[in-house]
């Protein structure tokens, strides 16, 4: 029988995640955890690929505190089945340097083993996130050659 992560473990992981406390988060990390946050790491250093428990702990100990003061997830969907969880919602944070509130769509797909995270994949509405991160709209109008002029966005 393969491992099935209890929902209570997933919820406890998210409580640790929101605390941004590396020690609390470390309790949920497998030694070989693979942690990937899709997005332009050259603009948002919270994006990137971290391999191994020490690297992920370092992300929460150094990278996150330099970028963000607060992190809160408004989860709209949290599915748990087998060794996976999937979350869809909105992540609200405060950028440390500017004190701007940043809020954008996010989803997580997490695989657990024996109560620990072995794989974490995060998809953000990263363009929206980047624009909030830099505090400016990115002008896409000159580049939007693939858009269809007669389409009205709903």
């Amino acid at each position: 029988m393969s491992y099935a992560v209890p929902r209570v473990v997933v919820e406890a992981f998210y409580a640790a995640y929101e605390s941004r406390d590396p020690r609390r988060i470390a309790e949920f990390l497998d030694a070989n955890v693979d942690w990937q946050v899709y997005g332009p790491a050259e603009v948002m250093q919270v994006c990137g690929h971290w391999r191994g428990k020490a690297a992920v702990i370092d992300r929460f100990a150094r990278v996150i505190p330099n970028a963000l003061d607060q992190v809160h997830i408004e989860s709209e969907c949290l599915l748990v089945e087998g060794d996976h969880s999937a979350m869809y919602g909105r992540i609200n944070s405060r950028q440390k340097m500017s004190q701007r509130v940043i809020s954008h769509r996010v989803s997580h797909f997490i695989r657990f083993r024996d109560g620990k995270v072995v794989q974490f994949r995060c998809i953000n509405d990263s363009l929206d996130a980047v624009e909030q991160f830099i505090g400016h709209r990115i002008d896409l109008s000159a580049d939007a050659d693939a858009s269809e002029s007669d389409i009205v966005a709903l």
Binding site: G48, L79, S107, F109, N124, V130, L140, L154
Partner: protein
Amino acid sequence: MNGHETNPRPGQDSTPRASLQTAFERFFAAYATRDAARVVPFLHDDVEWTVSGPVDVLPFCGLHRGRAAVMDLIGRQIPAVFRVFSFVPDATLIDGDQVATLTRQSARRAIDGRVISFRVANFFRFRDGKLIENLSLLDSFDAVEQVIGHPLTVPESLVPDMGDLVSL
């Protein structure tokens, strides 16, 4: 999906989860073809389909309400930007009335046929064996760069200074 389609055959698992899995697999097989006519039988009358992203570059982003709007989305609006030809699920979860998928999709740009690829998260909700809600999310910065065909320009002066941090 009608009642006939959801009735289990003798020996089949008739739990709510099994029924949802059957409904989802039929819907997903139709959706993977990107043929709106094949998808529509699986859509609830009151379906809502939301794609997060910038509508000025990806005009299909936004909220689409009702069968006709979702058919137009799948049959016209998305193919006007790109045509998906590969649809590979990395993860699929079923919990309650919901199904979450993480897929790797490959597509050709409508304008020139150039291949692009991206990951998409979908959160589907079913009611009475039919799709009532879909929430789609993709790495929009990457998707926009691929659709417009070149990197987005972010002035260095606007990139937050992170001291001695190096992106990994």
